[in-house]
């Protein structure tokens, strides 16, 4: 019997939510690592029992935890994230040079084929990789030493590398996104990188169409069509049909084209989900109505999904790593809020129900489809 395991990272620990394929009744375990921020946890696609978690606090720094039994037990693994060579500087908020300083791991992306290989996106923005199950981490320094890196500048949330996409059809190709530098692509397994931001327009930077400097919040890909990318930018929902070489806006009729997460239906590559958020700085749903928007046309035409979601007095946010889809049919869609709710839809977004209502603020949501 198929089932799903939802991995939830929060401000005060990790939670594991499990259900069978009907996705109606849920077992909740946690908090794991109570009191610690869990920025992200994710399973290996190659081994469903192998999970990795990014654990940290301002007090005691960064830890990485690994589970080999599907989240029942955990062991700390290596947490030495040291930039390769002399780190150099990027721009600080006041425009002065600032040394690269490691702060935390925002995102862990396990290899599609090897449970012991994982990519880590960190703040200050850089990409690390382990090939020994997390015991040791090496920087893929070609990204941080890109000729534009001295001009990268943090957004309000810090200069974080928050998105890592692995191309399932080309082992050498990776995409990353950095706030607020933009999207970068490597075609040689992470050794060299180039920005792929043509078509983006950001009025918040001196040159709105600059090659770098865009505050990309999230990018998403469907496994069957890795050259098609969708992006939620600080403002604007964007689409690329050529692996990031060029982008066009597909915000269409959204009530706000600001937001954080974006994801693609597991079985329909043209069906895309976003959660519009009011901004600047409010960062809650427009009109107090929590609405997921779905496009079945790859963008531009969007429909509000509201059944089961609060439609008044709702002022939570949905962060960039806090939405995911399962691979069942019909596709399940999940997201978590800063108010501690995790909502699930077992019918591709038509109807929603909370799995849990009162967790700490949710930082990340990932889903495993179990057979």
């Amino acid at each position: 019997m198929s089932g799903v395991r939802v991995l939830v990272g929060t401000r005060k620990g990790a939670f594991v939510l499990e259900s069978d394929g009907k996705r109606q009744r849920w077992d909740v375990s946690g908090p794991h690592f109570g009191g610690w921020e869990i920025f992200h946890l994710k399973a290996s696609p190659a081994d469903p029992d192998r999970l990795y978690a990014s654990q940290g606090t301002s007090w005691f720094g960064q830890l990485i935890q690994r589970s080999d039994d599907g989240g029942k037990t955990w062991e700390p693994v290596g947490n030495r994230f040291v930039y390769d060579g002399v780190p150099g500087t990027h721009l600080w908020y006041d425009g002065t040079p600032h040394p690269w300083e490691f702060a935390r791991v925002w995102h862990l992306e396990p290899s599609l084929t090897d449970p012991n290989t994982v990519y880590a996106g960190v703040e200050d923005a850089a990409l690390f990789r382990t090939t020994d199950g997390g015991q040791t981490w090496q920087e893929l320094a070609g990204l941080r030493t890109h000729e534009s890196a001295h001009s990268w500048q943090p957004g309000a949330g810090g200069m974080c590398l928050h998105t890592i996409l692995l191309d399932p059809s080309d082992r050498e190709r990776l995409f990353v996104a950095i706030s607020s530098a933009g999207t970068f692509r490597s075609d040689d397994d992470g050794r060299t990188w180039r920005p792929v931001n043509r078509g983006l327009r950001s009025e918040q930077i001196p040159n709105p169409t600059a090659e770098v400097g865009h505050c990309v919040h999230r990018i998403a890909m469907h496994r069957a069509r890795p050259d098609v990318l969708f992006m939620q930018k600080h403002w604007d929902v964007m689409r690329s049909d050529d692996a990031g070489e060029s982008w066009r806006e597909v915000s269409g009729n959204l009530p706000s084209d600001f937001g954080f997460p974006i994801d693609v239906h597991a079985n329909e590559p043209e069906t895309v989900y976003v959660v519009p958020i009011k901004s600047d700085s409010e960062h809650y749903p427009p009109d107090g109505k929590l609405r997921v928007y779905r496009s079945r046309t790859g963008g531009n035409e969007w429909e509000a999904l509201t059944n089961g979601l609060p439609q008044r007095d709702c002022y939570v946010n949905v962060l960039r790593d806090a939405m995911a889809v399962d691979a069942l049919d019909p596709c399940g869609v999940y997201f978590g809020t800063t108010g501690g709710q995790v909502y699930a839809s077992a019918d591709a977004g038509d109807r929603w129900a909370p799995i849990v209502r009162d967790l700490p603020a949710v930082l990340s949501v990932e889903v495993q489809t179990l057979s």
Binding site: W59, F60, P76, R80
Partner: protein, 98 residues
């Protein structure tokens, strides 16, 4: 034997009770004590001192004999009462909100 008291989160991480005891070779300083602690409990690496700079993390404090030793240079000898094991060396998470 040097006695070290860890804060609750680090005790849980290291899977130890309130107090741990250590043998420290040579002169007993913050640095040699923490080196011995991390050698015995490798999961604590990076939680008390930064992995790269080896500097004390900003929200961690070191107390002993009712004194705050946090700002002492890391190679300063620790008080004799700590070296004898009469008093523990306390690793403390600084008070902060959140």
């Amino acid at each position: 034997m040097i006695r070290v008291v860890l804060p609750p989160h680090l005790r849980k991480l290291a899977r130890v009770d309130r107090e741990v005891t250590l043998d420290v070779e040579g002169e007993v300083t913050q640095r040699s004590l923490l080196d011995a602690l991390e050698a015995r409990y490798p999961m604590l690496r990076g939680t008390i001192r930064d992995q790269g700079t080896q500097r004390r993390r900003p929200f961690v404090r070191f107390f002993a004999c009712e004194e705050d030793l946090s700002h002492e240079p890391p190679d300063t000898p620790l008080p004799e009462a700590v070296v004898r094991g009469a008093e523990p060396f306390l690793v403390v998470g600084a008070m902060a909100g959140g």
